[in-house]
């Protein structure tokens, strides 16, 4: 924490960033070569830039989804709300949930995974850098496409689960559901390509010596999430295609008059939807499992248990989906089976909470903002987890289904779990990503406003739900709101006030970001005395991450390079982060060729929303989109990932015999 100066590099790095001459594909298009300006971002294949763009996109949609939430709470703050009419209210809660789940939490987790997996496992980039860029653009276009419906006749209005046949053309006549289905389809392609990319990266590109059980815990949890995505996304793809065929081509999948079973959609949706819940929360579990040990000055308690309980959650998560359907008449056997599996999955989750608590136990706690958010997660997620256990009891769940009690539960696990974890990640990793420290003073306010606000907002919803206030109703009346302590009006008002407290907290975060960018403190190399490999790079890391790929000997490798045990078993600092970095720079690899920027991921991704638009409105447009996709695919296939040797300036320093290159990607 003491040294705030960064060491200057002693040697001129022989690192070649981009080709100097542009090569061409099809003999027409030249490769992008810009290293500055907007082109260096739009055509980049660098996992760090892509990670930052994922984060910025997610943050934008967080604000959009937040405004939607505030409008919902404004409508419900008082009896006979006049802010939204019934139709717009339906669109609002549908898009709020869809945006928060698919366009905020998932991309934000993808941002962290993209940025930190290669750094944590000691790689220079992901396995398929262009596929990575493609995923980003598919997500952005999917998100825009989803929201385009607001301006083209109304957004989707069937709830984020979009139960058929309610989402069919009869009950949802606008194109909102079509935009929703295609938007998610495109975002799903992004998730799937990202999943394949990151799994290959983790399984096949770890630094020498980094066995899976020496891998930082965030990378582990992110790996589990990628497997969940890999296998869950195709299930919703099927469901969305069936819905699309029904709405646009007259198929009968959900047409009850033709004998269809309305539960088919529910099964397909929740076979995807329950793993999705863990897709949302496990990245945050990974983040707090990084943050807690660092600020407790202790290794993570029971690392193998945290790893295996994460994997167990990922596995058992596939066998509990029907607990979302207890009230649908599944039959006693199915309900009993899924009830038991649901209780079972609470066990590995509980294991994690015990591990975190015991990590704190006896540690020298340092209450930074990141630490506060992490402890907030432990407490608030546990509350949400416990109300979740009450849902696993089917008779109890039947009472609570479609009431605000459910809304309270999933906001405690998603806001109290996933979102607080992501904020812990912002404060912990901001110096690594941007080289500046977020203000701890604003951060503390940010934390307390969000923590208090979320309890004010979602706590009363338990009472509202148990009193019988249904979900998704757009209005309530004074006459039916009851009396005394359980008066619906009072608790609805508290909840609405709470939502604005949260909004203030989020606003303070944005203020903090601007403040830090303008006059923030330059971050020391190792501001938190951290433990894992990503901190063995400069702040922000160089484009090629590591000058020399480190050889790993321990879990918490960076910590073990800084500290050694003395005779009495106490850990003594033997090296500073600066010294470790200098050591690495002296042993730098010669001629690191990073994968070169490319237009094709963007071109390919651009074709997807055009196809979707064409299917909804006019087939020729879809054909045109298809041609763009095909063109993009060919351009992509015929272009080398790393520009040819002839595209690089020849090495200038004489006497250098080494012609060896280190290809990445």
């Amino acid at each position: 924490m003491t040294i705030s100066e960064r060491p200057t590099s002693h040697i001129a790095l022989p690192f070649v960033e981009v080709p100097v001459t542009a090569s061409t594909t099809f003999g027409v298009l030249k490769r992008p070569v810009s290293t500055t300006g907007w082109k260096s971002w739009v055509f980049t294949v660098d996992h760090k830039k892509i990670g930052i763009m994922y984060g910025a996109t997610a943050m934008f949609f967080f604000v959009v989804g937040g405004i939607e939430a505030l409008l919902i709470r404004l409508q419900l703050a008082a009896p006979n709300g006049k802010v939204l009419n019934a139709d717009v209210y339906n669109q609002m809660f549908t898009m709020h949930a869809t945006t928060m789940v698919f366009l905020f939490v998932m991309p934000m987790a993808a941002a962290f995974a993209n940025y930190f997996i290669p750094l944590q496992i000691g790689a220079r980039d992901v396995a398929f850098p262009r596929l990575n860029a493609f995923g980003l653009w598919a997500l952005i276009f999917g998100g825009i496409f989803l929201n385009l419906a607001w301006f083209l006749g109304g957004a989707a209005d069937g709830g984020w689960f979009m139960y058929a046949p309610n989402s069919g053309p009869v009950f949802s006549p606008t194109h909102g559901v079509d935009f929703w289905a295609f938007g998610l389809q495109i975002a799903g392609i992004a998730s799937l390509s990202g999943a394949i990319n990151l799994i290959v990266t983790v399984l096949n590109m770890r630094a020498p010596g980094m066995s899976l059980m020496r891998m930082p815990i965030f990378s582990w949890m992110a790996l589990v999430v990628q497997f969940l995505l890999l296998f869950a996304v195709p299930v919703i793809t099927v469901a969305l295609f069936l819905l699309m065929f029904q709405r646009n081509y007259g198929a009968t999948f959900f047409d009850v008059s033709a004998g269809a079973d309305p539960l088919l959609w529910q099964h397909l949706f929740w076979i995807f939807g329950h793993p999705e819940v863990y897709i949302l929360v496990l990245p945050s579990f990974g983040i707090v499992s990084e943050v807690l040990p660092v600020f407790s000055r202790k290794p993570l308690f029971g690392y193998p248990f945290v790893v295996f309980s994460g994997a167990a959650i990922g596995f058992v998560g596939w066998g509990v989906w029907a607990h979302h359907m207890f009230a649908s008449g599944l039959g006693p056997v199915s309900v009993a089976v899924f009830s038991v599996t649901t209780m079972l999955i609470a066990v590995p989750t509980g294991v994690k909470i015990v591990n975190w608590t015991l990590t704190l136990w006896g540690g020298k706690l340092w209450f930074t903002t990141a630490m506060k958010f992490s402890i907030g997660l432990i407490v608030l997620f546990t509350i949400g987890g416990l109300s979740g256990v009450t849902h696993s009891v089917a008779p109890s769940d039947t009472q609570q289904t479609d009431t605000y009690y459910i809304v309270a539960h999933f906001h405690y696990v998603l806001f109290g779990g996933a979102v607080l974890g992501l904020f812990a990640g912002f404060y912990y990793w901001w110096p690594k990503i941007f080289g500046k420290m977020l203000s701890e003073r604003i951060g503390t306010w940010n934390f307390w406003l969000m923590a208090i606000g979320l309890n004010l907002t979602f706590g009363p919803m338990h009472i509202l739900g148990l009193q019988g206030q249904p979900r998704r109703m757009y209005i309530w009346t004074e006459a039916r709101s009851g009396e005394g302590f359980f008066n619906l009006g009072f608790w609805n008002l508290i909840s609405s006030i709470g939502s604005f407290v949260i909004a203030l907290g989020v606003l303070l975060f944005l203020v903090n970001v601007v403040h830090t960018a303008r006059k923030g403190v330059v971050a020391p190399l190792d501001p938190w005395d951290a433990r894992s490999l990503e901190w063995m790079t400069t702040n922000p890391p160089k484009e090629h991450n590591f000058d020399a790929i480190p050889t790993v000997h321990h879990l918490d490798e960076f910590f073990h390079r800084k500290y050694k045990e003395d005779e009495n078993g106490a850990m003594i600092k033997v090296m500073s982060a600066e010294e470790i970095l200098t050591e690495q720079e002296l042993a730098a690899d010669e001629h690191i060729h990073m994968p070169s920027p490319s237009y094709w991921p963007l071109v390919l991704a651009l074709g997807l929303p055009i196809i979707a638009y064409g299917v909804i409105f006019s087939t020729p447009i879809a054909v045109f989109g298809g041609i763009i996709v095909l063109f993009g695919a060919f351009g992509w296939g015929l272009e080398p990932a790393t520009a040819k040797e002839s595209d690089f300036d020849s090495p200038t320093h004489s006497g250098d015999q080494s012609e060896e290159v280190v290809p990445v990607g």
Binding site: A127, I189, S193, I196, M210, G250, T252, F253, L638, G665
Partner: protein, 207 residues
């Protein structure tokens, strides 16, 4: 999804040369391809399950046993099965850097695949004329969705095969041609095994 298949397959060629930091000592591209195929199992599983649930639900129009032409489908199934053999011969020629053999077997595979797709188009047209439209019944919707998805996968495979023939002729290609052809092969065989399942579950087992 079909777009992704192209994308995946195109991308690998360029990344194929990287073995840096390969902790498992295997090809990135191949691992990515197998992950993709594992994911595809869930896709076709969903479509097959939908069909299994709905195959007996015919509120109007013909039933499965009234329209299915088993001898015809058996022949086209056999054609697709044999295209797997020619594909594997193409992969083996490519590994031996035998460009002529590679071109030959890739072309034959594409032709066999096109024969299969042609057969499917014929089958769909025949069913349609017998009164089985996409929206006629739950059976027809789920049948066309499942076999149509498979047909699109075969078509994407044919495009990749033909593109590869062009690339082999052209000579210049970033990355390893042999590995690219091996990946197209994996995709092609996967489409074949999906049809093995469809042929048995959908055509041969009566409702």
């Amino acid at each position: 999804m079909a777009d992704l298949a192209v994308d995946k397959d195109m991308s690998h060629s360029a990344h194929g040369s990287s073995t840096h930091g390969s902790s498992a000592g295997i090809s990135n591209v191949k691992l990515g391809m197998w992950l993709f195929l594992g994911s595809e199992c869930l896709l076709f599983g969903g479509l097959i399950s939908t069909y299994m649930l709905y195959r007996g639900r015919v509120s109007q129009g013909p039933t499965p046993s009234q329209v299915f032409d088993i001898p015809f489908t058996s022949v086209s199934s056999f054609v697709l099965l044999m295209s797997s053999l020619t594909m594997v011969l193409a992969v083996s020629s490519a590994a031996k850097k035998d460009d002529r053999g590679t071109t030959l077997w890739l072309t034959v595979t594409a032709l066999l695949g096109a024969t299969f797709v042609g057969g499917q188009v014929y089958e769909f047209t025949a069913f349609k004329s017998e009164g089985l439209g996409f929206g006629t019944s739950l059976f027809s919707s789920s049948f066309y969705a499942l076999t149509g998805f498979h047909g699109v996968h075969v078509t994407v495979g044919i495009i990749m095969l033909m593109a590869m023939v062009g690339i082999v002729q052209r000579g210049e290609f970033p990355g390893s041609k042999a590995e690219t052809i091996e990946m197209i092969g994996l995709y092609w065989h996967f489409v074949d095994i999906v049809w093995i399942v469809i042929f048995t579950l959908i055509y041969l087992i009566p409702v």
